[in-house]
């Protein structure tokens, strides 16, 4: 490339970049309402992966949160004011989550925040909220360290220990299993579920005859399933996400006919879309009861279907509840002072949410609530059983 072309190219690019930066900065200044809540609205921060691989769940969570905000605002708001959701896309990057935390706290001056994101991002950001004394309610990220030793961080979803224990319990109690095979995803979610399912089944007198972990993009489970078939278990537990529904199909194709148990990762209409008829009969441990009599649950389910164009899942329901409990706490505290909101959260009891009855929060900030087993019938989730045993549903901290 000759001298002149280089010169021209460089000039153009530099000019474009400068214009872009100036435009961006100006746009940034003019679009952001500055100053804390005090004006007309009460601001709640929210972050989730809205782009990238995890965008599906991020949008699900955002829907849930927005439905909650609309619901609350149409019922008089909080302390006479409207709730405002200030949300950002964390791109499933821990670095981004950190930057967003500072943004929400210092620029948008939110009184509280909700995480609609996964464990990696939430874990990276939670210390910041905790250090700054801004209450953070975690929707569905399962890593225990998110709430551990952090008085300002709460969780409305289940931790792996609870869900894992429930799965182990269900396998032995409802499926009378003595020998269990477990396939679990190789990440915080799966590892925790596995460890707890294993210890629960063993404490109930059964044993795990085969286990293997797999990475997220796995679509070929046949090597493990072949081995599992040889081990002849009474129940197959699969701790994964809905893309791993293929595992169910492959298991059945290989001739594995025993009951298959899953967890909240399978709690999505996508699970049925991918597994098709193979999904029928699969039972999952989750907290969203589609057959619930509660009017709020049904309201949420209908509203979500209307807005998102597809049935709701546990992720959306958890985000809904996260916003809901914050609203209740602010109302109870009678103030938007973050410290008072936090104390109010600690003292909440028996809140009816989309994910059932939230009994209370433990000292560690983790929710105590009933779990539900849902079975796939005719490609829909339906009530199978409820798990209320305090020993199982009460988190260890």
């Amino acid at each position: 490339m000759d001298e002149k072309t280089k010169k021209v190219t460089t000039t153009i690019i530099v000019v474009v970049v400068i214009i872009a930066i100036v435009a961006g900065v100006l746009g940034y200044y003019y679009s952001k309402p500055s100053g804390p809540s005090g004006g007309g609205t009460i601001k709640i921060g929210f972050f989730a992966p809205l782009t990238g691989e995890a965008a599906a769940d991020g949008h699900s969570a955002l829907h849930g949160a927005q439905i909650a905000v609309d619901y609350i605002n149409s019922h008089g708001g909080v302390l006479g004011k409207k709730l405002e959701l200030v949300y950002y896309d964390d791109q499933l990057s821990p670095d981004q989550a950190i930057a967003i935390a500072h943004k929400l706290i210092e620029e948008d001056k939110v009184v509280a925040a909700v995480s609609g994101s996964y464990s990696s991002t939430t874990l990276a950001a939670c210390s910041i909220y905790n250090e700054e004394g801004i209450p953070l309610v975690n929707s569905y990220a399962v890593n225990p360290d998110i709430t551990r030793d952090k008085p300002y961080v709460f969780r409305v979803g289940m931790m792996g220990e609870t869900e894992g224990k429930a799965a182990g319990y269900a396998a032995v109690h409802y499926f009378h299993a003595k020998k269990i095979a477990i396939l679990y995803i190789d990440n915080p979610f799966g590892v925790s579920l596995f460890n707890n399912a294993k210890s629960e089944t063993e404490s109930l007198g059964a044993s795990v005859v085969y286990s293997a972990k797999f990475k997220y993009p796995t679509t070929d489970f046949t090597p493990w399933l072949t081995e599992i078939k040889n081990q002849n278990p009474d129940v197959l537990i699969i701790f994964g996400y809905y893309p791993h529904a293929v595992a169910v199909k492959q298991a059945r194709d290989l001739g594995i006919t025993v009951p298959i148990l899953g967890a909240e990762g399978f709690d999505s209409p996508k699970f049925m879309e991918i597994a098709k008829d193979y999904a029928n009969g699969v039972v999952i441990v989750t907290d969203l009861n589609r057959d619930s009599n509660n009017s709020l649950v049904q309201y949420f389910l209908n509203k979500y279907q209307e807005i998102a164009g597809m049935p709701a899942d546990m992720v959306g329901a958890s985000a809904f509840d996260a916003v809901l409990v914050l609203a209740k706490a602010i109302e109870k505290a009678g103030s938007t002072d973050p410290g008072k909101i936090t104390n109010a959260l600690k003292s909440l009891t028996n809140i009816e949410g989309a994910t059932g009855k939230l009994l209370r929060f433990t000292d560690g900030g983790n929710v105590v609530k009933y779990l539900t087993l849902q079975e796939v019938k005719n490609l829909e989730f339906h009530f199978y059983a409820e798990i209320t045993d305090p020993e199982i549903i009460t988190p260890s901290f």
Binding site: G52, E53, A55, A56, A212, K213, K215, P217, T219, D220, T222, P223, W224, T226, E227, N230, Q231, N232, Y242, P243, A245, V246, K249, D253, L254, G255, K270, E273, I274, A275, K276
Partner: protein
Amino acid sequence: MMMNSAIPQELLNGLMLGGIYVAIALGLTIIYGILKILHIAHAGVYLWGAYLGYMAYITTGSVLVSLLVASLSAAVIGLAIERLVYLPALNKPSHITLIMSIALFTFMTEMAAKIFGYYPKGFTIHWPLITWNIGGVVITSMQVFFLAIVYGASLGVWLWTSKTKVGLASRALIQDMEVAKSMGVNIKRVIDMNFLIGSALAGLSGVLVGMYYTMIYPHMGDVVAYKGLVVPVLGGFGSVPGAIIGGLILGVSESYLTAYLGNILPRDAFAFLIMIIILILRPQGLFGRSE
């Protein structure tokens, strides 16, 4: 003993996996042999073949049309990449074209996500599923279908390179482009044909993978994009039999490794470790020429 039928079952799993590797590697190895470009975006072609084949199936309900659309559209996309991105960049240092290919692959993945959505799509073809049990090994009709087409097409490509005029010319090009030119070979045409055929094979394997695993998703190319390179390294860049044998070796050994040693070494690390060892000890691979 309980293990007996597991070993041949793993072999079947390995053949399935190997089929994918072979199909992808064939295009990669030929393209590298001729243009000396590491065509990471080949995985993007694979991905788009899967999506377009899926769309064809949804619209027509015909598996045959789906396979044809996947192959043809992938071929066109591959050709477009060759003409628009690689040819103009031939004079650039090779690591630049490699990075361009990586950026292109990212672009193709994101476009698929934007256009078709981030959610995986269920891809079920309505064929009756028959399973056979041969000596303890379970094999399904879908597997037979998959293996037949993938290996059939791959062998077809092998025959093409050894029997047809253009195929043989490709080999000449891989050997030495200058000599081939002087012998009157129409370089442009040969390069085009190779991209068309290699890409068609990639697209075909993409849609087959979608059918077999009953789903397609925007990041399905990630699995093969970089691991796919291991096969030409193993088999020798530019060698077609090398790609076939290398793909088989990788598929089968990964299958056995995952089943029996899964707790010691991660699957992906295994493939790349093999790649590095080969690069150190025998960079030309099993069938390649020494530099």
